[in-house]
Symmetry: C2
Subunit: 501 residues, 2 copies
C-alpha cells in the first residue's frame, strides 16, 4: 500500500477525475424566507449605501450606461437591478480549460474543485526558519499540486516569489504554471497590463481563438471591503472579463473592521459586494465567466488579529446557499488557520473551515492546501497533510452508495454474529478501495508509533514532500510552444527593464 | 479578556445553560426513500441473521415472551417488530437529572449534551511519559469537566483508575462524580452488582423515590458487534433499565472486522443491533430511558488499526437521521483521533468527526474532550483544546440570527464604504460577545507568537489545565449526604474484601 501511495505521488493518477462531482446533498440550513431576507438587506445596502468604484472611470461609465445611480465614485442600484444584470448573462457554470484537456475543470453546478494557497508572502518548512517565499518555492508548490490527485487546480501565486521584482512576477508565475503543470491556473490582478500579459501567454498555449471562446485563466478580484472596489482590481477585472476569462469577485470581510461584527451583516455586505462586482463583469462582456467568492473572519478586538470560529462557518454556509440562488459558481472557505506552526490548532481550524465549506456546496476552494497564519504563510508540511485530507473529503462528497452489494448481505450470511469479517468474501472483494489509507495520519498502536520514532504528522508530512518533489517529472509540452513562451517572457522582461525609471 | 477567561474556568458560568438547545437545522443528506431502504435492510438482518444474547437466559425469556423467534441464544425478529417494541414505550426524550437541578440535561429532541472521554486506560500530559490512568487522574478530569461550561455532563469512567482494584472501581467512580461535580454522570457496566451499587449511591443523593421516577444515571452498553450482546453488558442493561436509568446501547463496528467494510452495511448492522438492544430495555421496563449510540470506524487492512475518514463521517450522519426517525435520543461521534501526540493529526481528525456528528443532529456526544489513540488514551492538553473547541461548536449550534439589529444597518449608515467599523456604535455595542476568544488557539501575528515563546496549542493547553486545576473549588453537598456516601463506599469495599478469595 505504501509503495502504491508513492507511485501515486509520482504523477497524477491516470484515471483520477479532473474534479469532483458531488453526490452528497449540500447542507442548507437557511430556508427560503431567510435567504430572501438576506437578499433584501443586500439590496438595501446597494440602494441606500452603494458601492464605491475608485479611480476607474470606465467602470462608472458602464454602470451609468446600465442605468445605475452614479454620484461621484459611488454607484447605487435599485433593488433587484444588480441581480438582474448578473442573472441575465453570467453563466451558471463553465469549464476552465487546462492545457491537458483531461484536466479541465467544471466551475459551478455540482462540481467541486480544490486548489492550493494563493498569495502567501512567507514559506515555512521543518528544515529552516520561516522566510519570504521565492520563485523556487513557487515552482515547488506548483509541482506538488500537479502531483496531488486531489488538487484539481494549480491556483495562482501560491506564494509570492519575493526574489523576483514585482513588475515581472506575473511572467514567471504564468510561465511556471504553464510549463511545470498541466492543470488549470490563475493569473495576477496587480495591474491591467500584467493581466493582459497573462492572457497573451495563454493565447500562445491555447491559441487566440480558443481563449476568446473559452475560459483558460482568470484571477481573484478582491473587493476592498467595506463596499469598495479599487482601480487595480477593477482594471484587472475588466481585462480578464473582456478576454472572456474569469473574475473571482471576493469580498474580504474581517467582522468589526471591514464590516459589522454580526454574521447577518457580514453576509448581506458580502452579497452586495459580490453582486456589484459580478454585475460589472457582465457589463464589460456579457456571458463572461464570473465566480462569487467570499473570505470572512472574526476579529479579536483586543489584539486586532483575525479569528476563526462559528461566525465564519455560518456566514460561509449561508453565502453558499445565496450563491446557488443567484446562479453563479461559488468560491469560499479554505483549509485555513491562524496557527504559526503545524500543530493541533492548525489541524483543527483547517478541518473546521474545510468541512463547513465543503458541506455547504462550495464549487471552488482555493487555499485547500498549505494555509497558515491567517493567509500570510504556506507550509510545505501542512500542504501535504491538507492534500491527504482532501482525499478523504473527496470520498465524503461521493455521498452514500446504497446499491445492493453495499449492504453486504452475503457477508452477514457467510459469517453471522460474533465472528470477524476479515475473511468474508465480501470483505476480500471490497476492502482494497474501502477506506482511504493515509501516509500522513498514523493510526498504528502507540508502541509501533513510538518504535518508528514518535513522529508528529508534520514530521511525516515533511518526509512526504521531499519524496514527492524528488519524484516529480515535468508534463510534456510541444517544443515550439515552450520556446514561444520562453521568448515572450524574455521579451516582456526586457521591455519592462527598458520601461523602468 | 484573559482575566475573564480565567475566572470562567474557576467555576462554571452561573448563567451558562445546562445543555445546548440547537437552533441550527441538522444536516440530513439521506432522503425518505433511502432511510426506509436502510431500515428494511436492518429488518432483514434482524429476521434472517438475528442477534445473539449470550449467557443471559433472562433476556431470552423476555424476547420469547414478547413473541420473538428464539432458537438457542439467537433471537430473530419479524420485520418491524423490534421497532414497534421501541416506539411503543421508549421516551423520545428525557431529563437526566444532576444533583444540582440547574445542571440537569435533556437527552433527545433538539438538545445537545457534551461529555468528556469514557474508558481510556492511558493518560498523557506534556509533563511525563504516557502511563496508565489513576484515581487521581480520574478525579482531575471530573474537576476539569465540572469547571468547563461547554461540557454539560461528567461522563463516566473518563480514564480507568488502574490503581484501584477492578471490583471496587465503580464505587470510587460514582463517589468522585457525585462529590467533585454536580453535573450528571454515568456508572459502569462491568457487572450487574456494580450497576446496582451505582444506583444505590444515587439513591443516597437523590432519594429512592426520585431515582425510581427519574433518570439520574446509567451506562454505555456496548454491543459486542457483530450482532452479539454478552452477559456482562446485558446484566448491567437490565439493572439500569429496571431501575428506570438509562442504557446507551452502542454498536461498536470497525468495518471489515466487526462487520462489513461498506458504509451501508455498517449502518444497517448498527441499526439492527441498536433496535434489538433498545427493545430489551423496553421489555425490562417499559418507558425506561434508552439512547441509541454508535461508534464506527474504518480499518487499515494492512495493520489492523482503526482509521478515521469519510466512511465514519457518512455512517454517523446517516445513523443520526435513522435515530430521529426511530424517535430515541442519539449518541454518536466524538472529538476522536488515532494520534498518539497532540499534533496536527489530532486536531484535524477530532474536528472532522466532531463537526460531522454535531451537524448531523447528535444529542449526546461522549468523548467530546481528551480523546487520543483511537480511544486508548486521554490527554490533559487535548482535553483543554477540545473544551475550547466545544465553545465554538456551541455557537455554531445557535445557528443564524436574522433579527434586524444583526444586519447592522446603522453601522453601514454611520460608516459607509471604505472606512473601518471598529468605532461604529453598532460594533461597540456588539463586539464583546460577537466572537469566541480562545485561550488555546493563538491568532496573533508570527512576531508576537514568537516573542511569547513559539508555543504550540498543546503547550498553551498545558498551562491552561494546570491553571484550571489550581482554581478548582468543590461544589457544596449536604454534610449528611456526603457522609452517607462515604459510609456506603467504605461498607461495600469491606464486603468486597470479605468476598474476595
Amino acid at each position: 500500500m505504501r509503495r502504491g501511495k508513492r507511485a501515486r505521488h509520482a504523477e497524477p493518477r491516470a484515471a483520477a477525475p479532473a474534479y469532483i462531482t458531488r453526490k452528497l446533498r449540500p447542507f442548507e440550513p437557511l430556508d427560503e424566507e431567510q435567504l430572501a431576507l438576506i437578499e433584501a438587506k443586500a439590496d438595501l445596502l446597494l440602494k441606500e449605501i452603494g458601492i464605491e468604484f475608485r479611480n476607474d472611470p470606465e467602470s462608472l461609465r458602464l454602470f451609468r450606461a446600465a442605468g445605475a445611480d452614479v454620484k461621484g465614485e459611488r454607484v447605487r442600484f435599485e433593488p433587484g437591478m444588480a441581480r438582474r444584470i448578473v442573472q441575465a448573462t453570467a453563466p451558471r457554470s463553465f469549464m476552465q480549460h487546462a492545457r491537458n484537456p483531461a484536466r479541465s475543470v467544471l466551475m459551478g453546478d455540482d462540481a467541486v474543485v480544490f486548489a492550493p494557497c494563493y498569495g502567501m508572502p512567507f514559506v515555512s518548512s521543518l528544515d529552516e526558519p520561516r522566510r519570504y517565499g521565492t520563485l523556487a518555492d513557487l515552482r515547488n508548490f506548483i509541482k506538488l499540486a500537479y502531483m496531488t490527485a486531489d488538487l484539481h487546480h494549480s491556483s495562482g501565486v501560491i506564494c509570492e516569489p519575493a526574489d523576483v521584482p514585482v513588475p515581472k512576477r506575473h511572467l514567471d508565475l504564468a510561465h511556471a504554471h504553464l510549463k511545470l503543470s498541466d492543470k488549470p491556473f490563475l493569473g495576477v490582478a496587480t495591474a491591467g497590463s500584467r493581466a493582459a500579459d497573462t492572457v497573451a501567454m495563454c493565447e500562445i498555449v491555447f491559441g487566440r481563438d480558443f481563449v476568446d471562446r473559452n475560459c483558460v485563466v482568470g484571477s481573484i478580484i478582491n473587493v476592498n471591503s467595506p463596499l469598495v472596489l479599487d482601480h487595480t482590481m477593477l482594471e484587472s477585472l475588466r481585462v480578464y472579463a473582456a478576454a472572456n476569462q474569469t473574475a473571482i469577485v471576493t469580498p474580504f470581510v474581517m467582522g468589526g473592521a471591514m464590516g459589522p461584527v454580526t454574521v447577518a451583516g457580514m453576509m448581506a455586505q458580502a452579497l452586495a459586494e459580490g453582486l456589484a462586482g459580478i454585475a460589472l463583469t457582465q457589463l464589460v462582456r456579457p456571458g463572461s465567466p464570473a465566480i462569487f467568492g467570499a473570505m470572512l473572519s472574526g476579529l479579536n478586538m483586543k489584539t486586532g488579529a483575525p479569528t476563526r470560529g462559528a461566525e465564519s462557518w455560518l456566514a460561509m454556509t449561508g453565502l453558499g446557499q445565496l450563491a446557488r440562488r443567484l446562479g453563479v459558481p461559488f468560491r469560499g472557505g479554505a483549509a485555513s488557520t491562524t496557527a504559526k506552526t503545524v500543530d493541533s490548532q492548525a489541524g483543527q481550524e483547517s478541518a473546521d473551515m474545510l468541512l463547513m465549506t465543503v458541506l455547504s456546496g462550495v464549487n471552488f476552494l482555493i487555499h485547500a492546501a498549505g494555509h497558515m497564519e491567517g493567509g500570510l504563510c504556506i507550509s510545505y508540511e501542512k500542504f501535504m497533510q491538507d492534500a491527504d485530507h482532501l482525499a478523504m473529503v473527496a470520498r465524503l462528497l461521493q455521498g452514500f452508495d446504497l446499491r445492493d452489494d453495499e449492504f453486504a448481505l452475503d457477508a452477514f450470511r457467510e459469517i453471522g454474529p460474533g465472528q470477524h469479517y476479515l475473511g468474508a468474501a465480501h470483505t476480500l472483494r471490497r476492502f482494497a478501495d474501502a477506506y482511504h489509507i493515509s501516509d500522513i495520519l498514523d493510526s498504528n498502536s502507540f508502541e509501533q508509533w513510538r518504535d518508528e520514532g514518535s513522529l508528529t504528522a508534520a514530521q511525516r508530512a515533511h518526509k512526504a514532500y521531499k519524496r514527492a518533489l524528488a519524484a516529480y517529472a515535468q508534463p510534456p509540452m510541444e517544443v515550439s510552444v515552450g520556446a514561444a513562451l520562453d521568448a515572450f517572457v524574455e521579451r516582456r522582461k526586457r521591455e519592462l527593464d527598458g520601461a523602468a525609471p
